[in-house]
């Protein structure tokens, strides 16, 4: 009898049921995940009801809906809805359009240079959204934007042609940021599509465009909708881009409004209102995730992914063969090259100024020298390294254990565990940050000094990223046939040996994939550590960059940004070369 067919609980009449020692860890995993997800959310809800100005002063006898009335009763909240809706819808439309085009071209056409797109597009994950937004201020601000100044000079324009401090500006920058993840999610969809349906359409006389519209896109619709919802939730949760580009123009979305309430001029944050607002946000995000789960569940009906081995038919682009390559190059220029160049430029300036002969004459290396002489930068780099290792490893380990329970056990709460593990994806980083802030302050009260340190940030990141980790692990574990484990058990191998000899080698690519994904997101993300860190000793690089920008050290941000982008690019490239060395064969 295989391990998973043994009941986890003995049943004998009315006797109490005790878990078998070997399945005790199922319960432990459940408790860990439930604590990580439900405890902060419970405090978030309590905080939204509490009239205490400080999180530690919650009194259960002083709960009311006053903050909800304030938030709901204010007409300007509905302006937030509008802004957020337009921003998210626009960003997703831009991001998905570019990603679909690129993914379709590399998978379904005979375009040249596919390997460069396979390698190049995911590399843009290395560009943190925060740096991207800062770079676009310097490029497209109506007052100092270098591109605007250049075009005004070139064509004698009276007004700047672009304004990044607008909803289209936000949509453009966030849309670019969404492309690499959407691209990575769409590739398997295109790759695993059964070509016989398209061929049947072609045989029936449909033109290629008609076949794409009536067959390809319709077949892909459930998968596409799933990617769309996933990306919409991602755009909802991002704070960095609207924080830098939206707030100066008074264009607030939910995440920036929560931030504003937490950074009050009157000293103490308006936690109650921030929490009440975050609850609305949470409902929207949970609704989107529910829709995502429904779409995923129904997608099986369309059976576009089968176990058959085949290669889809490639569309011949003819004289348009270079067009996709041009699109990819344009994307890489906007996503990486231009931000990198602008940071390179400002990193050499004594103060920020538009390009001119005088500016080039005044260039200095002092900011690069300062990078190596500032203790805080070294501390932040070390903290980031520690955080990356701890959070990424913890995410991989916890995701694996959770998926093992979900896929391979008969644990009573495995479905609930699956939902709990996926729930954090619905919770925006800034909301998660507030929720964990309340949790850790309560823990502080209880004598557990978690708040402010790297441990607290690592816990919050791990809780947030297991949603992605478990999706990957669930799929990977499902692909390992049970016969392999059973053979190991029959041969007398203990659990740990089965794990080590069967699961570990087969799941290694998934482990590495989740680890890298988490690493890149931990390095890029500022919204969560900004709320949870306390003191310079606990700064990570994203927080340091944010604070430096805030503090006016734009040139230093440029120097660090250049180095950070180059290191991350080298890292992602190395990983691709080492881990996916067979990429050229994909052509």
């Amino acid at each position: 009898m295989s391990a998973e067919t043994l009941p986890g609980w003995r049943t004998a009449g009315f006797r109490l049921r005790f878990p078998r020692p070997s399945t005790l860890w199922h319960g432990a995993v459940f408790i860990v995940v439930a604590t990580c997800v439900l405890a902060p959310l419970t405090l978030l809800i309590l905080g939204s009801l509490s009239d205490a100005r400080m999180p530690t002063d919650i009194d259960l006898s002083h709960l009311s809906f006053a903050h909800y009335r304030e938030v709901w009763g204010d007409s300007s909240t509905y302006a937030l809805f509008y802004n957020t809706f337009v921003y998210v819808a626009g960003a997703v439309a831009v991001g998905i359009s570019i990603a679909v085009s690129l993914a379709w071209c590399v998978e379904r056409t005979d375009m040249p240079g596919k390997v460069w797109i396979y390698a190049g597009v995911p590399m843009t994950l290395a560009m943190p959204g925060m740096l991207q937004a800062m770079a676009w201020v310097l490029l497209l601000s109506p007052r100092i934007g270098f591109i605007n100044q250049f075009l005004q000079g070139l064509f004698g324009l009276e007004n700047p042609p672009f304004d990044v401090y607008t909803l289209p500006g936000l949509i453009f920058v966030e849309g670019l940021r969404l492309v690499p993840t959407a691209f990575l999610m769409l590739i398997p969809l295109f790759r695993s599509m059964d070509p016989t349906l398209e061929e049947a359409a072609a045989m029936s006389g449909a033109s290629p465009a008609s076949a794409v519209r009536k067959v390809t896109l319709r077949l892909m619709l459930p998968g596409l909708v799933a990617v769309l919802i996933y990306q919409a939730v991602s755009a909802l949760e991002v704070f960095e881009v609207p924080g830098i580009l939206g707030m100066p123009a008074g264009l607030n979305v939910f995440s920036t409004k929560v931030y504003s309430l937490l950074h009050s001029a009157t000293g103490l944050p308006y936690y109650g209102q921030a929490n009440a607002l975050a609850m609305l946000y949470l409902v929207i995000a949970v609704g989107a995730t529910w829709a995502y789960a429904r779409v995923i569940a129904k997608s099986e009906r369309y059976t576009i992914v089968t176990g058959k081995g085949y290669r889809p038919r490639l569309f011949k682009l003819g004289r348009w063969r270079s067009a996709p390559a041009a699109l990819a190059v344009a994307f890489l220029i906007f996503s990486i090259l231009l931000p990198l160049l602008v940071f390179l430029y400002v990193s050499f300036l004594p103060y920020v100024q538009v390009p001119s002969v005088a500016a080039f004459k005044s260039m200095t290396l002092k900011h690069y020298v300062e990078v190596f002489h500032r203790d805080l930068i070294g501390t932040a780099l070390w903290n980031t390294f520690v955080l990356v290792v701890v959070a990424s490893t913890a995410t991989v380990v916890l995701s694996f254990l959770v998926s093992l329970v979900i896929v391979r056990s008969k644990f009573w709460g495995r479905k609930l565990l699956d939902q709990l593990a996926f729930a954090p994806h619905a919770i925006p980083g800034i909301v998660m940050g507030v929720a964990f802030l309340w949790l850790f302050l309560q823990a502080d009260k209880a004598g557990l000094a978690l708040y402010g340190g790297l441990t607290s940030i690592a816990i919050a990141f791990t809780a947030g990223y297991i949603s992605y980790g478990t999706r990957v692990m669930n799929a990977a574990i499902l692909q390992i046939h049970k016969d392999l484990e059973e053979a190991a058990y029959v041969s007398g191998a203990p659990h740990w040996r089965t794990m080590w000899r069967i699961f570990y080698p087969l799941l290694l690519p998934s482990f590495i994939g989740v680890w890298i994904w988490t690493m890149l997101h931990v390095v890029r993300s500022a919204s969560l550590p900004l709320i949870l860190y306390d003191g310079q000793k606990n700064q990570v690089i994203s927080v340091l960059i944010w604070n430096m920008w805030d503090d006016g050290s734009i040139q230093l941000v440029g120097a660090i940004g250049v180095m950070m982008i180059l290191v991350l690019l080298a890292l992602t490239m190395a990983i691709r070369v080492i881990g996916f060395g067979r990429a050229p064969k994909m052509q």
Binding site: P248, K257, H263, L376, D444, G552
Partner: protein, 392 residues
């Protein structure tokens, strides 16, 4: 009327100080003080005469047992808003004065972090930090919690800080002052367009309107002071007028805003600290500092935690920070204008012409209900300006 009286008292105090300080600053009034090598080096770097430190020995006389007890404790922790590299300069002078006492400095950027966690720890009876600076109007929280000691037994608080800058219960002390006015891009704003009074600014939307002006979310640095002088009605009307100019409401910190002014992203910013403008100007950036009348004069407060396990070392450090040596060290570290009665010369002010002969505005009711009401009014306008619900 009480507010105007406060201003008059301050003006009188400043004149009296200048008269008292002048003889002490002259070579004839100088006498050799027990200066450390670090202090000498600091004065040399600042091109200050050693006579500036006259009376230091007396200032550094401590009540019996303090120094030994402090040395026994060995460490003192402090939260400030200063960058570590700046703080290190001041700390070096302190260490030379009091060897054997280690200072654990933390640059704590946000008000929440400087306030919330120490208060939570205090309420739970756990010591977290000994000295907190940059209280930004949150001292009432520490007062309510009874978290700060009475500083009246610190000789330099009693003797060196002007009475007008003290709070009645002496739980916080002013250790530095700043002039917060307008930072502007000299290529974008003509001198003729600079407003004589604050009211002139909101009356000229052509120059200051339509995103030409940037605002930082720190009304307590300047507007509260002006309100103290001009009254509540004026304060509210002024805020209405200011927000009608359609300024850029930026999330960046005040120093970040100055860099954006230098870059030309906005023509001017309020509030801008005089010393910070001077620092950016030194890089060659086209920035200037201008103060309409009255000049907002803001203070930085510090407090010593009651449950500090290093209470003697904390008192020693705080007392030193309010001595001439400590005050000059802070100026040396990051151009902090001293609060010390005896250090009110123009060498401590980056743009003396901007304050000389002008009325100054101090916020008297730094912690009170009036300021709270004003800040809430600001908060509502700020959040409305960015399309969200306003706190009630």
């Amino acid at each position: 009327m009480g507010h105007s009286m406060g201003y008059l008292k301050f003006a009188g105090w400043a004149v009296a100080c200048a008269m008292l300080v002048a003889p002490a600053m002259s070579p004839a009034g100088a006498r050799a003080e027990n200066l450390t090598d670090e202090t000498r080096a600091m004065l040399k770097a600042l091109k200050f005469d050693e006579s500036m430190m006259s009376g230091l020995d007396k200032e550094l006389e401590l009540p019996a047992g303090w120094l030994d007890a402090a040395k026994k404790e060995g460490t003192v922790s402090i939260y400030t808003t200063m960058e570590q590299k700046d703080w290190n300069k001041a700390e070096k002078v302190f260490r030379a004065r009091y060897p054997g006492i280690n200072v654990e400095h933390s640059e704590v950027k946000t008000t929440t972090q400087r306030t919330l966690r120490p208060l939570v720890a205090f309420k739970e009876g756990r010591p977290l930090v000994d000295v907190i600076t940059g209280l930004s109007g949150n001292s009432f929280l520490f007062r309510d919690a009874g978290a700060f000691i009475d500083l009246n037994d610190l000789p330099n608080y009693r003797n060196n800080i002007p009475d007008e800058l003290k709070v009645s219960d002496n739980i916080t002390a002013i250790f530095r002052v700043r002039y917060w006015c307008i930072g502007y891009n000299t290529n974008k704003i003509k001198e003729a367009d600079l407003p004589k009074t604050w009211d002139d600014l909101i009356a000229n939307p052509k120059v200051w309107g339509n995103k030409h002006l940037g605002l930082g979310n720190r009304p307590n640095n300047w507007l509260v002071n002006l309100y103290t002088v001009n009254g509540e009605d004026w304060g509210r009307k002024y805020m209405d007028g200011l927000f009608k100019l359609n300024p850029q409401l930026r999330k960046e910190g005040l120093n970040g805003l100055l860099s954006l002014v230098a870059a030309g992203e906005m023509d001017a910013v309020i509030p801008a600290a005089m010393d910070r403008v001077a620092q950016i100007r030194q890089t060659g950036a086209p920035v200037g500092h201008y103060c309409p009348e009255p000049v907002p004069f803001a203070v930085s407060e510090l407090g010593v935690m009651k449950n500090s396990p290093h209470i003697n070392a904390a008192k020693l450090l705080t007392n030193w920070l309010m001595s001439k040596e400590g005050q000059v060290a802070l100026f040396y570290a990051n151009d902090a204008t001293p609060a010390h009665k005896g250090l009110q010369g123009k060498e401590f002010v980056a743009f003396p012409e901007q304050i000389q002969g002008k009325k100054k505005a101090i916020a008297e009711d730094r912690d009170g209900a009036e300021e709270d009401a004003l800040l809430k009014y600001w908060e509502a306008l700020w959040l409305k300006g960015s399309g969200g619900p306003s706190p009630k």
